[in-house]
Point group: C2
Chain length 199, copies 2
């Protein structure tokens, strides 16, 4: 599907065919594309938890105020991030020419180490970017999605055994839509959102 | 361009043709697509500042440690967010059926009002999502882009007259590539980044 069409047609869909399953090949292809999303310093700080186990899905639904798309969609992806991805930065540049490695790698840790807010900003930014890769890829595969922040993050963290210094940024059910999204709720005027040269 | 191709071909490009200009029609089309990016509660909390003025571009380049793509790219977009977008939520749902408005609108302000960290998370998440819409759209229009966080945010805020309770999340030069990106620096193994059912 054309990029422009995917952007236009991507909507947050709430109703999914609970009998539809995605193949392992589809799930792999979807996530391989997500892994091409850019991250600062190529840190790849996102971590994706694909929840397929029905008991865990039910527990997560309960932690998300019983929103049915959590269990009815074909897959559920929990988008997490490692807040300490800035450590051991050499692994992100192993294929770069040596002078590039020598310049970039020593910059990473000092940039983040003592800045907890920046670590968290980076988590949310990277998760945001990767989530749109997933949503547009899903749309282009004939699926829909529903980005969600309405859940108890601590309960979901317990269910997926989120490690220390990791954070959850979003949940993303993906599946076969049973019912289209409503029309868009109310778009702000272009000139309220886009400014030229300054506010 | 096919969505999958755009995701594969999108790379962070540093070298742009400084003589190339994008037409106003192209810039408008690019941003109209960005405005279709999802946001929590449809808050549309992003604000996009398109910097065309050469003096401002030069000043921003100086605030970004003289990275040449800031002035050499055809346009520079500063992705900002309104941290108080949760106020006056009725405008985001004017086209929704009345029962939907009655349910959703009163939820927005209490969800964010006393949670400064969540306001900021939402800014970064929305900016991340919209930035990928912009990067993939740019690619599909034959352009390249370079997401940037390496700049002095206070200096750039002064240049674009960023209002109170707004924040800058990223800068995005977009233009005609003069030189391809290097090969990818070093992709983490799939199994290190993707987990099934839990960590």
């Amino acid at each position: 599907m054309d990029t422009t069409t995917a952007i236009h047609q991507r909507r947050s869909v709430k109703h999914y065919d609970p009998d539809h399953t995605m193949t392992e090949v589809e799930i792999q292809a979807l996530l391989e594309l997500a892994l091409l999303s850019p991250t600062s310093f190529n840190m790849q700080n996102w971590r994706f938890v694909v929840v397929t186990d029905p008991e865990k899905r039910a527990a997560i639904e309960a932690a998300a105020w019983n929103q049915a798309q959590v269990t009815e969609a074909s897959i559920l992806i929990i988008l997490c991030a490692d807040l300490h991805a800035y450590e051991d930065g050499a692994r992100y540049w192993v294929n770069a020419p040596q002078p590039v490695q020598d310049m970039l790698v020593p910059m990473i840790e000092p940039f983040y180490k003592d800045n907890v807010q920046l670590q968290r900003d980076e988590a949310m930014r990277s998760i945001g970017i990767a989530s749109q890769t997933l949503m547009l890829t899903a749309k282009s595969m004939g699926y829909d999605s529903c980005p969600m922040i309405g859940f108890d993050p601590q309960k979901v963290a317990d269910i997926i055994e989120l490690p220390e210094h990791h954070i959850i940024g979003m949940m993303l059910p993906i599946g076969k839509a049973l019912k289209d999204a409503n029309t868009r709720g109310g778009q702000l005027p272009f000139d309220e959102v886009v400014h030229i040269d300054g506010f």
